[in-house]
């Protein structure tokens, strides 16, 4: 088991190197570099910079070098934890990302737990009451949930809250807590705001997971051991929860591999629409303004989270399913 985990961990640096190269190629692909964009912004605001100053900057950032050298410089700095300087914000990128990475993770993980907390009971109910009214209602909700884009759901909720209840559901804190230091009150306030975006983010996943749970459990419930246990007089809810539900879990665990990464990258859209402090909107701005090292840094973090999510699910699956452990 340890060997298996170590093997997977050893692959991580290699993957990160490949990703960092691909990301670098993408972020420096747009014509011009961030200095051209920056100079244009400065020029439009009235201040002018001498040609020598631009050249000096260009040399300082290594922008006059060929791409591969630039890449090497970037990676070398990254290895020292230096994500570069954001030209738009005039602050270190590491600081900008650091401020928001915590809430990005919080949103995705909270959404993940919310999904499981809703999907599993719903799946169990649907499977134990097949073709009942409740099952049909859940099926309809599931289909609509999968078909609704995240941002659309966010828009509808924000509109309803604004137009009919006159409340604003954007942001993660009430105004009085926005700049306050961490306290119990601020935490409670965060939780009161976090559940709605987490639900919006998780709705499609919830729908899919509960469908999977329902199908798996239905397969299990028809097996002879269930009939035997029932014939021996075992209480129904105890029987269901004790054996078939546990077996129906395995395929669900393998969904973590795609679901966690999906939440990380999906949070980008929800956070942008609902105006949440998150690295998603930061990335969007950085891409539009060609703040290339900030965009590159954030993309690398997304890749890292994605790989870790996949790794986590493989390890969990190996822990739960002995067959994989033996083969691995």
């Amino acid at each position: 088991m340890t060997r298996y985990i170590l093997q997977r961990l050893a692959l991580l640096p290699l993957l990160m190197v490949i990703y960092s190269f691909v990301i670098f190629v993408i972020i420096q692909a747009p014509p011009g570099d961030f200095l051209t964009a920056y100079v244009a912004t400065l020029a439009s605001s009235g201040s002018s910079i001498s040609q020598e100053q631009i050249e000096a900057w260009r040399a300082q950032y290594g922008l006059d070098q060929p791409m591969i050298v630039q890449y090497w410089l970037w990676v070398k700095h990254l290895a020292h934890g230096n994500f570069g300087l954001s030209l738009e914000y005039q602050r270190p990128n590491a600081e900008l990302i650091g401020e928001q990475i915590g809430l990005t993770l919080a949103l995705a993980l909270f959404s993940f737990f919310l999904t499981w907390a809703i999907a599993i009971p719903a799946g169990i109910y649907s499977a134990t009451h097949p073709r009942s009214i409740g099952d049909h209602i859940l099926t309809v909700v599931n289909y609509v949930g999968v078909a609704t884009p995240n941002f659309m759901l966010a828009l509808i909720l924000m509109w309803v809250a604004f137009a009919y209840f006159d409340v604003s559901v954007t942001g993660l804190y009430s105004p009085e807590y926005a700049d306050a230091p961490w306290s119990w009150g601020k935490f409670l306030d965060l939780m009161a705001h976090l559940w709605l975006p987490a639900l919006v983010l998780g709705i499609a996943g919830t729908a899919r997971l509960s469908r999977i749970m329902r199908a798996n459990l239905l397969d299990e419930l028809n097996k002879p051991y269930v009939v035997t246990a029932r014939a021996k007089g075992m209480k129904e809810w105890r029987l269901v929860l004790r054996y078939p539900v546990r077996l129906a879990f395995n395929p669900l665990i393998s969904t973590i591999g795609w679901y966690l990464p999906m939440l990380f990258s999906g949070s980008l859209i929800v956070a942008t629409v609902m105006n949440l402090p998150n690295i998603g909107p930061l990335l969007l701005r950085a891409l539009v303004n060609q703040d290339m090292y900030l965009a590159g840094g954030i993309l690398l973090i997304y890749s890292f989270l994605t790989i870790v999510g996949t790794l986590l699910s493989d390890v969990l699956l190996a822990l739960v399913d002995p067959r994989i452990r033996v083969e691995g």
Partner: protein, 372 residues
């Protein structure tokens, strides 16, 4: 059971025994009523894709700032019990405090409309000119807004028709590209095996662990600003199918691995068939229906992705019209409170995705020979 019943049963059995695989799939699919209804809806939507101008009431680009945020004018078919279609007229009043025009519909004043009347000129498939439209006002100087207008006074109904053309085509083309890539690369991987196989498998693993939305955004941001809408359109479909093919590639490889050892493949090889012929004539048809079902479930995912990218401003860009571009108008909550009909393109997305999912599920069940 009478003799006649037995004869009918026997006849049905004979019919099944001689029916081709496609016929069996069709018979099973026909039994899914929801899937059938969705299929009809999708056929209708693809009719709109072919001739969006015919379904439009006015030029989707026509702006008029004085007619901004006009509410939905519902179509009424009957007037006093007689068949004479009309829409209520609009009445504008300037709000004294905000100085903004506020429009209401006035059902007492009727604007007569007609079906298959004449309106603005358009070209059928870019070939011959016509000015026929499905719905037009009787008075050609009148403008009607069946689904309201946006902040520039553009007709949302006509814009949705044109958005349907773009968005539904993106889904179809992106999936077609994914299928080609998936079948070719997955097929090579499964049939050739060895080093090629492990290389393609690593590539698939690499692509599957890409954080999709951020990378798509970065790629679309890297597209040159001076590209034409058509070039952007194709670039976006390629970007979307870049990750889309991997799932299918895996499945196809799995099928090839399983089929490679089958007797009929060996027989074909002994009979001297070329490798290409074995793959295309003997192996692919055995799982073609499965591929079709999988890809029809991939189209809605592509549509949602395109809509999301365009909504964020990094997908299809104006002046091109897609559902995502239309929803950009609904980004501001204050605007939305004023003009909730701007959310209608989102409902169209949901309905289209729902229909694709239902058809896909129906096809998947119908294509599975072991389902009953």
């Amino acid at each position: 059971m009478t003799a006649a019943d037995i004869a009918v049963g026997k006849e049905a059995e004979d019919r099944i025994a001689v029916a081709s695989n496609w016929k069996l799939v069709w018979w099973r699919f026909r039994r899914h009523h929801l899937a059938m209804a969705s299929a009809v809806l999708l056929i209708f939507m693809y009719t709109i894709v072919l001739v969006p101008d015919f379904f439009s009431t006015q030029d989707p680009e026509r702006t008029d700032a004085r007619q901004a945020f006009i509410p939905v004018q519902t179509v009424h078919l009957f007037d006093d019990g007689a068949l004479s279609p009309w829409v209520p007229a609009i009445a504008g009043k300037r709000n004294p405090t905000t100085l903004r025009m506020e429009w209401t519909t006035d059902p007492k004043k009727k604007v007569p409309i007609t079906f298959f009347g004449t309106g603005y000129k358009w070209k059928v498939f870019g070939l011959f000119e016509t000015n026929r439209h499905l719905i037009v006002p009787v008075d050609p100087n009148q403008r009607i807004f069946l689904l309201g207008s946006d902040r520039l006074g553009r007709d949302q109904w006509s814009r949705i028709m044109h958005g349907t053309q773009t968005s539904m085509t993106v889904g179809l083309v992106a999936v077609a590209l994914s299928v080609i890539l998936g079948v070719v690369l997955g097929g090579i991987s499964g049939y050739v095996g060895g080093k090629t196989d492990s290389f393609i498998q690593r590539l698939i693993e690499l692509l599957q662990s890409v954080p999709t939305i951020p990378i798509w955004l970065a790629l679309s941001a890297a597209l040159p600003r001076d590209w034409t809408p058509t070039q952007i359109f194709f670039a976006i479909t390629v970007i979307l199918s870049l990750v889309g093919w991997t799932t299918l590639g895996r499945e196809v490889r799995g099928r090839f691995l399983a089929l490679r050892e089958e007797d009929f493949v060996l027989a074909a090889r002994l009979a001297g068939c070329s490798r290409m012929r074995i793959i295309l004539r003997h192996m692919v048809p055995t799982f073609l229906s499965h591929i079709i079902a999988t890809s029809s479930l991939a189209i809605p995912v592509m549509i949602i992705n395109e809509t999301s990218l365009s909504f964020l401003g990094l997908g299809i860009r104006p002046p091109a019209i897609s559902w995502g571009v239309l929803l950009q108008e609904a980004q501001n909550i204050q605007t939305l409170a004023l003009a909730p009909w701007l959310l209608i393109p989102g409902l169209v997305v949901i309905v289209a995705v729902l229909a694709f999912n239902l058809v896909g599920d129906g096809l998947r069940d119908a294509a599975d020979p072991y389902s009953h």
